[in-house]
């Protein structure tokens, strides 16, 4: 079992970051995320919380050892999220579906305003990676490889989100300029 944890502060407000999350894919920083579909989405009438279930298709180069174990390099991930606009929190939980008998990757993400600066957004990510094969030594190697890849993907994921935030800010600027001209 491997644990991965990372925290980061985006120097943008929570509303902008949460919007960027919805607009994140496709993104040239995260080419491994190939396809996203919304399976279910609605607002809980009692709590006002937006609930979403998404199917994510990932394809990335994997070491031969892993490709042999997994039977390929394309995989599906299921993600469930809740956005509370009053509490200003966005929570996402995801789990791989394909080759789950060999490797289980569960990831939890939370975006909320940074308590030290409410105009910024705190990002807290944690993941559990667990390989199950008959040979303990092989399971360790599989976990190591996947943990390293997870860490790399987490880094480019942050870059990807920043890029989308920049795009949103540029669009807003254009709108303001257009209004000034009128």
């Amino acid at each position: 079992m491997r644990l991965f944890e990372a925290t980061h502060v985006f120097k943008h407000d929570w509303e902008t970051v949460s919007l960027a999350n919805w607009r994140k894919y496709p993104n040239d920083k995260t080419p491994h995320v190939r396809h996203v579909e919304v399976l279910n989405q609605d607002v809980d009438p009692e709590t006002g919380v937006l609930r979403t279930e998404r199917l994510i298709m990932v394809r990335q180069n994997v070491p031969t050892l892993l490709r042999k174990l997994f039977g390929g390099d394309a995989s599906y991930v299921l993600e469930y999220s809740e956005v509370d606009p009053r509490q200003k929190s966005m929570m996402m939980q995801s789990q791989n579906m394909t080759f789950s008998n060999v490797l289980s990757v569960g990831e939890h993400i939370l975006y909320k305003p940074d308590p030290d600066n409410l105009d910024h957004t705190q990002f807290i990510q944690s993941a559990q990676l667990k390989a199950s094969t008959a040979l303990c030594r092989l399971a360790n190697k599989v976990e190591d490889m996947c943990w390293n890849r997870f860490k790399d993907n987490a880094q480019i994921g942050k870059l990807g989100l920043e890029q989308v935030v920049s795009k949103i800010l540029a669009e807003r600027q254009e709108m303001v300029m257009a209004q000034v001209v009128e």
């Binding site: 009438p45 199917l55 299921l78 606009p85």
Partner: protein, 75 residues
Amino acid sequence: YDACFTRWYSEKFLRGEKSNDCAELFKRYQTCLKKALKDKGLTKMIADARPAIGSVYQDDELDPDREKTQGSNKS
């Protein structure tokens, strides 16, 4: 649907306004999607993965033949 959703999200949802702007689009998108998932044989895989992520949605959500209205109470 994505375009409608992101507009609704930033202009209505985040500002606390209740509205159902994208319901019609979503319905059409879902009908198409759920048939595609069934054809690809992904329905069971999705149902099996739900407990691990704490999803509130249930198996029958993926049945494209079942009559549904968006915004109905999901247990």
